[in-house]
């Protein structure tokens, strides 16, 4: 056992695939910790911004952050309704962290809260224990508050030091420059935005995670069903074998993808969550595993060690679990890896046809392809909307196939080069 593991670790192909796969997995896990934005948040108006560094136009004026608010009642209510409770809590959290006593802050009083925010918030203030990503999030919150105030007719002006009267705001000229470090709300969009104005990279990372989960669930379901049926049909044989093989052959003859399309269609758009799709894929993918496991078991069941186990008085489940399963285990692991990668591909295929998971919850790799296709990214030459997705799908499948080939070479010494 230990010897086999060492051989697996020494197989170049397996390790290459494994490293690629682990790298993808690490990105999927670590990236959301650094960028806590929700993946489906719309960050910019307009479709398909090309990759690059984006500076908020409003921020670039960089008005001194001193506000005097004179809101008439109707305008105050409008602002109050636009400022969400979450944002209020976030503002309070920052103010408390910046040293304001918590009992002076009332999140229900919009005007007072905005005044306190305006007079205390400083993007350059270092608060101990706050991550860079979190302080960026506060900078964006500040920007959106400013945007809220400006569109709702708030007056942004500087206050005269002696009289307290409002003066006209700063004039922005053609020759004015702002250092990018002094602008609070800078977004680096390495892959631009998609058709809805969402950050493609953040979306892609989340979509990769969801697609891997779908592949894993589909793979587990398909492997479990296939393994159980293959073991039972192969070892027990007789009528059970005939019946199982009849059903397996039925499934093999009907093209799986057509079956998938029909099932997904009949489930209906509303009920199609990511894991419903994964289950459906798993339920249609098992015949292949069942057939090959059965073939292996049939060649195993007449071996002497199985006969010896029978003569030792073991029950059929004991023999299947102890004398058959360990011998096919390596093969099942390889089949499982292939089932995961084919599950991811199947999901992408379904979603690109518009039969994937419903679009309100999570992105998947297939959904991103679907959106790019519907909004004609390929015709408009917006490559960043679909090429990274394609590359990710290819990379995942490639790494899994590499692992599979590596394992195959370890377990079948005849294939070694």
């Amino acid at each position: 056992m230990k010897h086999t593991l060492r051989q697996v670790a020494r197989s170049g192909k397996f390790m290459a695939g494994f490293i690629i796969f682990v790298a993808i997995l690490l990105i999927v896990i670590i990236y959301p910790l650094l960028v806590p934005d929700p993946p489906l948040q719309i960050i910019a108006q307009g479709t398909f911004f090309p990759p690059g560094i984006y500076v908020n136009t409003y921020d670039s004026i960089n008005a001194p952050t001193t506000y005097t608010l004179h809101l008439d009642d109707a305008a105050a209510k409008r602002v109050a309704s636009k400022l969400s409770q979450e944002n209020r809590t976030e503002m309070k959290n920052w103010l408390v962290a910046a040293g304001l006593p918590a009992d002076e802050i009332d999140t229900a009083d919009t005007e007072q809260l905005l005044n306190q925010w305006g007079s205390h918030y400083d993007p350059r203030l270092q608060i101990p224990g706050m991550t860079l990503a979190k302080s960026r999030a506060y900078q964006r919150l500040n920007a959106s508050i400013q945007g809220l105030l400006s569109t709702e007719g708030a007056i942004i002006a500087s206050r005269a030091a002696d009289t307290g009267a409002l003066q006209a705001g700063r004039e922005v000229k053609q020759t004015d420059y702002v250092n990018i470090r002094e602008v609070a709300n800078v977004r680096f969009l390495p892959l631009g935005t998609d058709n809805f104005g969402r950050d493609v990279l953040t979306e892609l990372v989340r979509a990769t995670g969801v697609s891997l989960q779908i592949g894993l669930v589909a793979g587990i379901i398909a492997t479990l069903i296939g393994l159980t049926l293959g073991l039972a049909a192969g070892y027990i044989g007789g009528l059970l074998d005939d019946f199982t093989m009849f059903i397996t052959n039925l499934f093999t003859v009907i093209p799986t993808f057509v079956l998938l399309i029909l099932i997904s269609f009949s489930i209906g758009q509303d009920k199609r969550g990511a894991f419903t799709i994964a289950t459906v894929i798993g339920l249609t993918a098992w015949p292949w595993t069942a057939r090959s496991v059965r073939a292996q078991v049939i060649s195993l069941r007449n071996r002497d060690h199985v006969n010896l186990s029978k003569l030792s008085g073991h029950s059929i489940p004991h023999i299947i679990l102890n004398d058959i399963l360990p011998y096919v285990a390596s093969y099942v692991v390889m089949a499982f890896i292939l089932q995961i990668s084919s599950g991811i591909l199947q999901e992408a295929g379904l979603a690109i046809l518009g039969l994937g998971p419903r679009t309100t919850e999570v992105p998947t790799l297939g959904l991103m392809m679907n959106w790019a296709m519907i909004y004609q990214a390929h015709i408009l030459e917006k490559w960043w909307a679909y090429l990274p997705v394609l590359m990710t799908i290819a990379l995942i499948t490639f790494s899994m196939n590499l692992m599979n080939t590596g394992l195959d070479q370890v377990f079948n010494p005849a294939l070694r080069d």
Binding site: H305, L308, K310, L311
Partner: protein
């Protein structure tokens, strides 16, 4: 003719037949074989490869079902229709296989192999120390050290040691009948005599019927009381070892005997 045999019949077959395949392409491996093995005898079934010896052995063990014919165990029709009945039957008949390298589950340790035998004899509830004592005794019988065997896997042993472990297994099980399917053909010549010695010692100790399946007619003559010669799925000649080997009637038997390699060019059978 044969001298009248005293002991009771313990395993006999009537019209035992096994046909492999379906439709036109069928192979008759065992063809209407009749026999009567008696308690306490050492029986040899001799034949070249492909003559149906192993198929017959598997039918006797109940591992495959005969196409036709019946097996009688201790005078009664053998009933192995349910798993429980089969387990009961296997308490009485055990086997040693030809290839020790493929006869063990490579994922099980040697302890497991021996413990299974103790459990089969109803020793599941015994205290751990008693089990170890039994295993040590069994290993000691075939000159293996249990302390060295424990926590080892069967494939870490040599072929001869594995076959000796197989005999230790039988020692623990103490069946009424032991079917040894070419137990020495995969073993080198030096270990061969040792294995045979242990088998004969075990037979004396347990008092069981020993069915020896071999292609080596010299070996059959050396160990057995009764010899059956098998050709193309049929018994062509049977009788006491002396009668069959020294005074063969059938041409096939004569050919088998003449094929035995001789150390000396002239080997006078009458002097053996």
């Amino acid at each position: 003719m044969d001298a009248p045999r005293k002991s009771k019949p313990c395993l006999s077959g009537v019209g035992l037949t096994k046909v492999f395949g379906l439709g036109r392409r069928t192979t008759v491996a065992v063809d209407h074989v009749d026999f009567e093995f008696r308690e306490g005898e050492v029986i040899s079934i001799v034949g070249e490869s492909g003559s149906g010896k192993t198929t017959l052995a598997k039918m006797l063990l109940g591992l495959i079902n005969p196409t036709e014919g019946e097996v009688y165990f201790q005078g009664q029709k053998r009933d192995i229709s349910s798993h429980r009945k089969r387990q009961e039957y296997w308490k009485n008949i055990q086997a040693i296989f030809q290839d020790p390298f493929s006869a063990y589950n490579i994922f099980n340790k040697i302890d497991t192999v021996l413990l299974d035998c103790i459990h089969m004899r109803g020793g599941r509830g015994l205290p751990r120390a008693k089990k170890i004592e039994l295993m040590t005794e069994a290993c000691g019988f075939v000159n293996l050290k249990f302390e060295e065997m424990t926590n080892k896997y069967p494939f870490e042993l040599s072929g001869g040691q594995m076959q000796r472990l197989m005999i230790a297994r039988i020692f623990l099980l103490k069946p009424k009948i032991l079917l040894a399917d070419e137990p020495t053909s995969m073993i080198d010549a030096c270990s061969r005599a040792t294995i045979l010695d242990y088998l004969m010692k075990l037979r004396d100790e347990v008092g069981m019927t020993l069915i020896f399946i071999t292609h080596d007619i010299g070996l059959a003559y050396y160990v057995s009381d009764t010899v059956y010669i098998m050709e193309h799925g049929r018994f062509v000649e049977s009788g006491t070892a002396d009668r069959v080997i020294l005074h063969p009637q059938e041409p096939y038997t004569k050919r088998l005997i003449s094929d035995v390699p001789k150390i000396y060019e002239e080997w006078d059978l009458s002097t053996v």
